[in-house]
Symmetry: C2
């Protein structure tokens, strides 16, 4: 096991219990029981919890504690989970399988899947609005979340991605734009919100924003590489689906070797941005780990 | 023209220009142009703007100005518009017509309609997170918005409403629960957020919450009555659709006369809750107007 993997595993052992204890709390007692069940189904599907863990690690990197970042970490996982549920819908990527299980709409129906996503997105803001936080940190975290998730971020990127399937002219710049919005914006927000909740200085916050931007790019390139090279069983979801529908990806534009080179560059850029931070070991390990992950 | 209608018209003449000048601003300049267009299409479809206007009037009722409530008013209209776009989808109410025009997914496709709703919901929180507001008022307004829109509010009510179509046992209590969540929660939040942003005392805030609860009920009863009695052309949407699909409504449970009596009672209850407020004339007129509206 590499040093990065050991560090990542030790962070997960520390942080996941904190996260998991709180994750489904807002969806346990209420009138809309079936909708709550649909929400919990997707929250409990597991997954790598990359965004909430990065949020807590960013908080630690600037001298805060994981508990300080918890409302931000929960918000990131709610937004990420909502985006998966909506992206899997027939009108979007039309996927039947996610993390090795039937997708939300396959189990609960499309109407409830749409509403489960809506409820998760709403609760992401709710958890930050109601947590005990410094008022300035709260406002900034909420603004960063809205920026990362909305029209100028993830939702906009998903729209461009949908449109891209019918686009004739499509180059590397356009691919980068889509991924900067679709994947990068939320990863960046995870880091930046963690920094804010940890009381980062403006320059620390900017460094973690840039780190988030770079690992967002690396993450997406690796996703495309895995889609082109792994099997369904490896991924727990349908492999080769992008190539299969003629979708433009990093490997299709740069070749597999070119995509691997771009992945290495993005990871190196990410590591450079950590140089000035007091506690950077975990984030550096995660950057290396994400570039090497097999699913 | 009745006194209530005159007052409502004068409020609209005053408040709609303030609202309309700001409404589409966050969706004008960005990379995801088609998604922005989809969002603006639904925002510009007009409608009665009941929620944002009530938000500003609640602010005035406790001594504030409409401008103080503007971030809350925008947030309410964003959430309301998102809910219409998602509710019209084939997986939900499957409507082709809204406010006399094709529904969002008929024009932009289902994928973009889902994302347009997602972007609007996100921006509702974004506008409150970034406006110049007193920190305590900001946090409370955001928490009320999340409560009104989410699993314990509107989204939960819409899920119960979807489930209701296949439910065997269905009584007045269950119908009230659905409407309290589906329609009432957001109307109540509009009033309460307006009150908070106007610097309401706790008892004023509670009065406006109760007023919102009562007019939410009245609004839904009148919606059901209109669905049973008006034509498509009257409503600008499909009339008789609830009755047509065997959906339980106030007229189907109470008869048309019983429903009208329940509407009068809810309106009277609403008016009682205004008694202690300094500037209550506009809200009283709106309560009467909403119970008499023809669409």
């Amino acid at each position: 096991m590499s040093q990065a993997t050991t560090q990542v595993q030790s962070d997960l052992d520390r942080l996941l219990p904190v996260l998991d204890a709180a994750l489904t709390l807002p969806f346990r007692h209420g009138d809309a029981q079936l909708l709550g069940e649909a929400v919990r189904y997707s929250l409990e599907a597991g997954g790598k919890r990359v965004r909430p863990v990065l949020c807590m690690l960013a908080c630690e990197a600037v001298g805060g504690t994981p508990a300080q970042a918890l409302p931000g970490a929960l918000a990131m996982e709610y937004v990420h989970t909502y985006s998966l549920i909506h992206d899997d819908l027939p009108a979007m990527d039309d996927d039947d399988l996610r993390r090795g299980r039937p997708t939300n709409h396959k189990v609960f129906g499309e109407g409830h899947a749409i509403l489960a996503g809506d409820a998760l997105l709403t609760e992401a803001f709710g958890v930050l609005a109601t947590a005990e936080l410094d008022p300035a940190q709260r406002a900034l975290a909420l603004a960063l979340l809205a920026e990362g998730a909305g029209w100028r971020g993830m939702a906009g990127g998903q729209a461009l991605d949908l449109e891209g399937e019918t686009l004739a002219a499509y180059d590397l710049d356009h691919l980068r734009l889509i991924h900067r919005l679709k994947t990068g914006a939320l990863l960046r927000a995870s880091l930046e919100i963690g920094a804010v909740l940890g009381g980062a200085t403006p320059s620390e916050q900017a460094a973690l924003r840039a780190f988030g931007e770079a690992i967002g790019l690396a993450f997406q390139i690796q996703d495309d590489i895995l889609d082109a090279t792994a099997t369904d069983a490896d991924l727990g979801k349908r492999a080769g689906k992008d190539a299969g529908r003629g979708k433009i990806t990093y490997p299709s534009l740069l070749g597999l070797d070119g995509a691997r080179k771009a992945l290495d560059e993005a990871t190196e850029t990410a590591l450079c941005h950590l140089a000035s931070l007091p506690n950077r070991n975990s984030l550096a390990a995660w950057a290396r780990y994400l570039a090497l992950r097999a699913k």
